[in-house]
């Protein structure tokens, strides 16, 4: 197993190397910040014409996760779409694909700051501003304990930036799952405020847990990556 198992808010959870969170007790698959339609939105606003494959790339990865975990419910933890118009602009083929992925399971869309409106009839599932159950699921961390996304956390490991989960006592913050998403470094004040200490679980070939370090108090490390400096 390449996932990292841990307990949060009394629940046993798995941080998957893809950046998805699996909740075995319920068989829920939770992904944050898909940002589907991001390249379309950038083009619409007169920006760059980025390779228009990010919806395909993101759904390819999500489909692989669904195939691997066979979840009872898929949760998009907010910012599933880069904006409401981007959702409206999704092609029929993409909608069809999401319908197929949702077959035989529930789908829950948590609203995010990018996609506040309900998904409507064109897509499977229901939209909720947040979900309170054994776990509280919302887009942006609030009064903990809660599970959220929004910040796209990442850390540096052996000289490379990697997306990561942040696991603190009050907040569990998921990495962005979407293909075209940047990251906010875990040492940023916006994140250290929410998760001052705890673990970061980096998305690599397996989920790698490392202790969170404050940028101003990094312990000295014995190793470094000689290859990382060459290029």
């Amino acid at each position: 197993m390449t996932s990292y198992m841990f307990d949060f808010d009394g629940q046993s959870l798995q941080a998957r190397p893809s950046g998805a969170l699996f909740w075995p007790a319920r068989r829920w698959l939770i992904v944050a910040d898909l940002h589907l339609g991001k390249s379309e939105r950038i083009a619409r606003r007169g920006g760059a014409l980025l390779p228009p494959y990010e919806v395909q790339a993101t759904l390819d990865r999500l489909q692989a996760e669904i195939a691997a975990t066979d979840p009872a419910c898929v949760v998009s933890l907010g910012d599933g779409f880069d904006d409401d118009a981007a959702r409206a602009a999704l092609s029929d083929a993409v909608r069809e694909r999401i319908w197929v992925m949702a077959q035989g399971r529930e789908w829950l869309w948590i609203s995010g700051n990018h996609d506040p409106a309900p998904v409507g009839a064109g897509l499977p599932g229901e939209t909720h501003p947040e979900w309170r159950d054994l776990l509280t699921l919302r887009h942006e961390a609030g009064a903990g304990p809660d599970v959220s996304g929004h910040y796209h956390p990442c850390i540096r490991l052996a000289g490379e930036r990697r997306r990561c989960f942040l696991i603190g006592s009050d907040h569990l913050i998921l990495p962005a799952f979407g293909a075209y998403t940047g990251g906010l470094i875990a040492q940023d004040p916006a994140l250290t405020r929410l998760v001052p200490d705890g673990l970061a679980v980096a998305c690599a070939s397996r989920a790698m847990a490392v202790p969170l370090q404050r940028s101003d108090a990094q312990p000295s490390r014995g190793r470094r990556n000689p290859a990382g400096r060459r290029f």
């Binding site: 390249s39 379309e40 083009a43 619409r44 007169g46 920006g47 760059a48 014409l49 980025l50 390779p51 228009p52 494959y53 990010e54 395909q56 790339a57 910040y151 796209h152 540096r156 490991l157 052996a158 000289g159 490379e160 930036r161 990697r162 293909a179 075209y180 998403t181 940047g182 990251g183 906010l184 470094i185 940023d188 916006a190 673990l199 980096a202 690599a204 070939s205 397996r206 790698m208 847990a209 490392v210 202790p211 940028s215 101003d216 990094q218 312990p219 000295s220 490390r221 014995g222 190793r223 470094r224 990556n225 000689p226 290859a227 990382g228 400096r229 060459r230 290029f231």
Partner: protein, 792 residues
């Protein structure tokens, strides 16, 4: 055009005689390319026809446009021209226009251009993107392109030539003059500027150039040249002003420090390289101009620039790598025309001794080197199309015709042109996703911006210089002094407590704060790290061939120093000498590992690529490669099992396949992609002030590269990236050249280290091979961190 009496008098009053090439250029009809050594009055020659023309009466609009690669040069020219203009009482307005020019001045120049405008290729591209471009440049009579040899070496030159083609359309009577230092092939440079008559100035007397004799012989390996510090210091004392050229910034830092440690008389010596803060560089330049420095330790950052008449000695530390550049550097000493330049060379190690001897021979024979220019790059063309659309609607056929008039694009196919236009208009994707949001669209047969507001963003992205992401280095504390910049990748490898050299001082890394590397002074400690992961220049093809031929011809070994001759004799007895036409390799055990040395003489970049490709084949063959190392001359691979036959590892088709699939995912390729994508306008440069807002919204260009490779492998930008891999960092063309140049293999199995291989074992810069390299390193680091935190 003849020289008017007033000009002849002015020359006479200065005690000058016009140089023959200055008169030649004045009389020339049509476009000309003047090749002259430094100090030959090149710039005045370039401006003389304009000054004479303008002396006949006032001119409406811009008469002459001068383009130089350096902002500093435009300011210098403005000062130098001021004198004849004042003396001759000419009523001429001369202004410069660079990135530093104030907005108010720029706006005025658009409405009321000066008689002579001094600018850079980027500022010219920007001006051509204004709607007023036809009015600004419509009456232009002359264009002067300074330091054309330097511009032609990069994409800045391609962009400039596209701009020039545009100017020729706007002002059909234009006369263009190129000014260049000595180059190996003036005719190809003339073709680069779209065709011109070559005017060769008298090259002047042969330079006084030799190896610097030293008490100690050069060491076996390394690149520092510190063994020669006493002799270099003695040379500085004996000369008026010395420039010491060193190949890399890190070596410049270390040499500067070593020089200071031995500088008992406290001679004023400065340091100048591209990673230093601009303020620090300007201080050194000003001190140099004022004659306050006896020497300056510099990298290529001083290859161009303002002439310092007082410099009378150039010392090159380390292999010259390139004969043409060596000659141009030598030319920086003694800027008096018809006085020989003085230069001394200090090889840094035994291999470089041979290279220096070979280079001196090439200088004596005036046999310059240079790689032929490839065709005009398509990413630059994409940018040009977008900027052309900013100026106004264009017709595709007309633009194609115009672009083909630019030297680098004379062979451009219509299919490539159309592919670029498709990219600029729609993104050029197989999935036609952006029909509604095209950047350019065709209306009434003309291509134009869909949204005119996009012009602002496109103009902000002008230029072809794509820097590695650099981070500023500052002393910790309020208002800490800026020291310079380091690459982001280098900063990421630092840990608190690490020390490194920058600006001649040792500093301690404290941390990263808001994208600034914070350091404290640490004068006593030895720096652990002195690596800037900059691009390392490879030895030129021609010089490498000379070195290979010299090593392989014992009859010519008498021109080598004794120690070098003995070394090569021993190699010939124990193994074999690399020689012209023969690729020599050796397998031998050392410290419990098999080593494979290949004397490829293909330059460090190509040999590094070859190392990556060969170790992969060795891994497949089960030889258990553990690591490799590349220099300009040789590749050394260590493995569990020996290489007994190198031929299958050097199979041309297999190497090409490796380049196609495996290397395509390499970080070097991603870097080429980022540069092409930025120039072509797919991604925006990081603009100042943007980075602070955090990276949450932005993402790495690597993601775009991986996405395109997976979903749209035929995309134009991937084609451009693969083309670039033939040169530069990947340098695959040199691997092919090596295989062509040395078709014969001579492989020796030996029982111990050979004389030629021994120095390689001492070199630094080993690349470890791990099947799952980066992942494994990350795992080790994660495990170590967990253990340290008591969590594992």
């Amino acid at each position: 055009m003849t020289l008017p009496a007033s000009f002849r008098d002015w020359f006479a009053r200065q005690g000058w005689q016009p140089h023959p090439h200055q008169v030649d250029l004045l009389n020339a009809q049509g476009d000309g390319l003047l090749i002259a050594p430094t100090g030959g009055g090149k710039t005045l020659a370039g401006f003389l026809p304009s000054l004479v023309d303008l002396s006949r009466g006032p001119y409406r609009g811009m008469h002459t446009l001068y383009v130089s690669p350096l902002k500093a040069l435009t300011a210098d020219i403005a000062r130098n021209l001021a004198r004849p203009v004042a003396d001759l009482r000419l009523n001429i307005r001369i202004e410069d226009r660079t990135g530093d020019t104030r907005p108010a001045q720029r706006a005025r120049q658009r409405v009321d251009p000066p008689d002579i405008l001094l600018t850079t290729p980027e500022s010219l591209a920007l001006m051509l993107s204004y709607e007023q471009a036809p009015a600004i440049f419509g009456g232009l009579k002359r264009v002067v392109l300074d330091e054309l040899h330097a511009l032609a070496e990069s994409k800045r030159g391609d962009q400039l030539m596209l701009g020039l083609a545009r100017l020729r359309t706007l002002a059909p009577d234009l006369t263009v003059t190129g000014l260049s230092a000595t180059v190996e092939d003036p005719r190809s440079l003339a073709a680069f500027m779209g065709g011109a008559r070559v005017i060769n100035a008298d090259p002047g007397p042969d330079p006084d150039i030799a190896m610097l004799p030293t008490a100690r012989p050069a060491p076996w390996a390394g690149g520092g040249g510190h063994y020669a510090i006493p002799e270099v210091l003695a040379q500085i004392k004996a000369a008026n002003t010395t420039i010491i050229f060193i190949n890399t910034r890190a070596q410049a830092e270390l040499f500067f420090q070593a020089l200071w440690a031995a500088n008992d008389e406290n001679l004023p010596i400065g340091l100048h390289h591209g990673s230093l803060a601009r303020e620090a560089r300007q201080r050194v330049e000003a001190a140099m101009a004022a004659g306050q420095l006896r020497a300056v330790v510099a990298t290529g950052s001083l290859d161009l620039g303002i002439d310092w008449g007082a410099v009378d000695l150039v010392i090159q530390v380390g292999a010259p790598k390139n004969v043409k550049r060596l000659v141009q550097r030598i030319g920086r000493a003694n800027h008096r025309y018809n006085a020989p330049s003085r230069a001394r060379i200090v090889p840094a190690n035994r291999f470089e001794v041979i290279e220096c001897v070979a280079a001196l021979q090439a200088v004596a024979e005036r046999d310059l080197d240079g790689d032929p220019r490839g065709p005009g790059p398509l990413d630059v063309l994409c940018q040009h199309m977008l900027l052309t659309a900013c100026a106004g609607p264009f017709d595709a056929d007309h633009l194609f015709h115009e672009v083909c008039g630019a030297g680098p694009y004379r062979g451009l196919s219509r299919a490539d042109f159309d592919a670029c236009l498709d990219f600029a208009a729609t993104g050029g994707y197989a999935l036609r996703a952006y029909d509604r949001w095209q950047r350019l669209m065709q209306r009434d047969g003309l291509w134009r911006l869909r949204d005119p507001r996009a012009a602002r963003d496109l103009r902000m992205n002008v230029g072809t210089i794509v820097e590695a992401e650099m981070l500023k280095v500052r002393l910790r504390g309020r208002g800490g002094a800026p020291l310079g910049e380091v690459e982001e990748a280098f900063a990421a490898s630092l840990e608190p407590g690490d020390s490194f050299l920058i600006g001649g001082q040792t500093v301690r890394y404290e941390g990263l704060r808001e994208m600034v590397v914070e350091v404290t002074k640490q004068p006593t400690k030895q720096p652990k790290i002195a690596v800037f992961s900059g691009v390392k220049m490879a030895t030129s093809t021609q010089l490498s061939h000379r070195v290979q031929a010299l090593i392989g011809d014992p009859a010519r070994h008498d021109i080598l120093p004794d120690t070098t001759r003995d070394w090569l004799d021993l190699q010939a007895r124990i193994s074999a000498l690399p020689r012209d036409g023969v690729l020599v390799s050796e397998s031998f055990p050392h410290m419990g590992r098999w080593h494979f040395a290949l004397y490829g003489f293909a330059g460090r970049n190509a040999l590094q690529t070859l190392g990556l490709l060969m170790t992969r084949t060795m891994e497949d063959a089960g030889l258990g490669p553990l690591g490799f190392l590349s220099t300009d001359y040789a590749l050394l691979i260590w493995s569990l099992d020996p290489v007994t036959d190198p031929a299958p590892l050097l199979d041309r088709d297999a190497l090409r396949d490796g380049l196609g699939d495996w290397l395509a995912g390499n970080a070097v390729m991603k870097r080429s992609f980022r540069s092409a994508a930025t120039i072509a306008g797919l991604i925006q440069r990081n603009l100042p002030g943007q980075r602070k807002s955090g990276r949450q919204a932005t993402f790495s260009s690597d993601i775009l590269y991986d996405t395109l490779r997976r979903y749209d492998p035929g995309h134009l930008l991937l084609r451009i990236t693969a083309d670039e891999a033939r040169r530069g960092l990947v340098d695959f063309d040199r691997i092919e050249d090596m295989l062509n140049h040395s078709p014969q293999h001579d492989h020796r199995m030996l029982d111990r280290v050979t004389p030629l291989a021994a120095p390689l074992l001492l070199e630094v810069g080993r690349v470890p091979i791990a099947g799952q390299g980066r992942e494994r390193l990350a795992e080790e680091e994660a495990a170590a961190l967990m253990a340290e935190a008591g969590l594992a």
